[in-house]
């Protein structure tokens, strides 16, 4: 099922048959993935597909009912989130989750408290985001959404992770801001990071990803390199249509409810959301 991928060998991060429950709901139902060093691994899917749950479980914020998470060959399934962070798995959580009463610099300092050795320092983050150093003494609550997202990325980077988990970077941001943030990705990757990202904005994910996995209702519906999959396949996997029967049937999943950002409700439209987000 796995397409041959460059850099084959030991995966840096591996998830085996993960099952996660939110109460009665089976949010993830046997999802597996293998992320190799240097990859940009994108997980796409509609609202409620289980993407964020997957990332949060990898970071340790949810406990799986079944399955295993391996990092660098070691079983991390029972390890506490803070231990995973210090081992080299950093996450930029959905909604930024900055420390609102702390300044920009203090947020980065907290991120650097238990940092591993590596290329990223607070100064280097200031170089990456040019505006940041002159606003270092401001509280993050006073920043715009895009600026907050940049601080959240910086806070994760200064820990010098080996795997960076990015949860819905585009959420609630204007398209042009999203473009600008994603434009930073090559510079971040150049320092040897591996990225596992979750994105509802499919076109954005396709642009940056070296490997793609599509989730639907907690199952994997498609996996492969972006160049190997056709838009029709992505569309079918995203909406859960049987492959090839176009848009004859309605989307089987109805979870496009209140969770998403305004304008993301492209699910019923029958096309792959091209990324024209409202905000």
């Amino acid at each position: 099922m796995n397409a041959p991928r460059p850099g084959n060998g030991t995966p840096l991060l591996e998830v085996r048959d993960l099952v996660v429950h939110h109460g009665q709901l089976r949010a993830l139902d046997g999802v597996s993935l293998r992320v190799f060093p240097g990859e940009v691994y994108a997980i796409i899917g509609a609202n409620g597909a289980g993407k964020s749950t997957l990332l949060r479980t990898i970071a340790g914020l949810h406990q799986p009912t079944e399955g295993a998470i391996l990092y660098d060959g070691k079983d991390m399934t029972k390890v506490r989130p803070e231990r995973r962070a210090t081992a080299g798995i950093a996450m930029v959580p959905e909604g930024r989750r900055l420390f609102g009463s702390l300044t920009v610099e203090e947020n980065l300092q907290v991120g650097a408290t238990y940092a591993r050795k590596g290329p990223w320092t607070i100064e280097r983050v200031y170089e990456l985001f040019g505006w940041m150093s002159e606003r270092r003494t401001q509280r993050t609550a006073q920043l715009s959404g895009g600026e907050q997202q940049s601080v959240a990325i910086g806070r994760a980077l200064v820990a010098n992770p080996r795997v960076l988990l990015l949860d819905e970077l585009s959420l609630g941001l204007a398209p042009v801001v999203v473009q600008r943030i994603y434009a930073m990705l090559p510079q971040i990757l150049a320092t040897g990071l591996t990225v596992l990202l979750v994105e509802q904005d499919v076109s954005q994910a396709l642009r940056v990803a070296s490997h793609l996995q599509c989730l639907l209702e907690g199952h994997t519906t498609l996996e492969g390199r972006p160049s190997d999959v056709t838009p029709a396949q992505v569309e079918a996997a995203y909406f859960g249509l049987a492959e090839g029967d176009g848009r004859a049937e309605g989307p089987p999943q109805g979870g496009s409810g209140g969770m998403g950002p305004p304008g993301s409700g492209g699910v019923t439209g029958g096309v792959v959301p091209p990324g024209e987000k409202g905000a």
Binding site: A59, G60, L61, R80, P81, E82, A85, T86, A90, M91, P93, R97, L98, F99, G100, S101, L102, E106, N107, Q109, V110, G111, T113, Y114, A115, R155, A156, A159
Partner: protein
């Protein structure tokens, strides 16, 4: 002049109240634990000081050096075990658990010590004396010392929280526990440190109270807990200077009440508390309600 005296005495007593209240405020601000045993812990600190003095014969002031670390260590251990276990269930459980702790401490002291009142005698030193301004104002050095200690403790705590590595982590964990974990911060350890500080300051307050007045096993819940709560509520949660202001306002209100009629002392304090709750429920210094 009698009124001026009342206000001065009130301000100085307020320092003691602030010393009681800052640990309560810290524990609520960081881990959302309303520590109903806070007053009893102060009294426990006083009794430990009595024991330390009886055994080692050190002067009262030196007992602080022994008692505060003991109580701080106790705070860390209790937070990591019992209080954390109750927090993992729900915030409401912590109310039950700290209430239970309060009962256990109070009755433990009644059982194993006795119900008599004690005080920490400072002997014949300068701090037992007082000085006068004019004919009506008489100020005890001890109260001045306690007020100064309160200000120094609050200043130190403020500096620790704003400038140190652990202080930064305490604020980060108070803001967003999960995000702190994602940065590698073990919030349980940070909670333990906050509890150690709270227990240490309340032990200091308990010793100060023992030097200033008399205490018995029931003093913790009867008096100290209520005054500490009142100081926190009047000043506004989450602000150390608010806590000092709250303590001072409470102290001044009590002294003015006592000036009118000695039986109004406690009542006047609670009238001010009630007024604050009605007209400015977020407290005198707090910003607008935070989430």
């Amino acid at each position: 002049m009698a009124w001026v005296n009342a206000i001065i005495q009130g301000i100085l007593t307020g320092g003691l109240y602030a010393l009681f209240a800052c640990g309560l405020s810290l524990m609520f601000g960081v881990m959302k634990v309303v520590n109903l045993a806070h007053g009893d812990l102060a009294i426990l600190g006083g009794y430990i000081a009595l024991g330390v003095i009886a055994v080692t014969h050190v002067p009262v002031l030196w007992s602080v050096v022994i008692v505060v670390p003991i109580m701080a260590a106790l705070g860390y251990v209790m937070q990591r075990t019992m209080i954390q276990a109750s927090l993992d269930r729900s915030v409401l459980t912590t109310l039950l658990v700290t209430f239970g702790l309060s009962v256990v401490i109070e009755n433990g002291l009644l059982q194993f010590v006795n119900a008599n009142s004690h005080s920490l005698g400072v002997g014949d030193s300068i701090i037992t004396k007082s000085f006068s301004i004019g004919s009506q104002i008489q100020i005890a050095y001890l109260l001045v010392l306690i007020f100064a200690v309160a200000v120094v403790v609050l200043l130190g705590l403020q500096y620790f929280l704003s400038s140190s590595r652990y202080g930064r982590m305490i604020r980060a964990v108070a803001d967003d526990r999960e995000a702190a974990q994602l940065s590698g911060v073990d919030y349980r350890h940070v909670f333990g440190i906050a509890a150690a500080i709270a227990f240490g300051t309340v032990a200091l307050a308990g010793i100060a109270y023992g030097m200033y007045s008399q205490f018995a096993p029931t003093t913790g819940t009867d008096t100290i807990l209520l005054f500490a709560f009142a100081a926190v509520v009047i000043g506004g949660l989450g602000s150390l200077w608010g806590t000092l202001l709250g303590g001072v306002v409470l102290g001044v209100a009590q002294q003015i009440g006592a000036q009118i009629n000695i039986s109004y002392e406690v009542l006047a304090g609670y009238i001010v508390l009630l007024a604050v709750l009605v007209f400015r429920p977020q407290g005198l210094t707090a910003r607008k309600a935070e989430s």
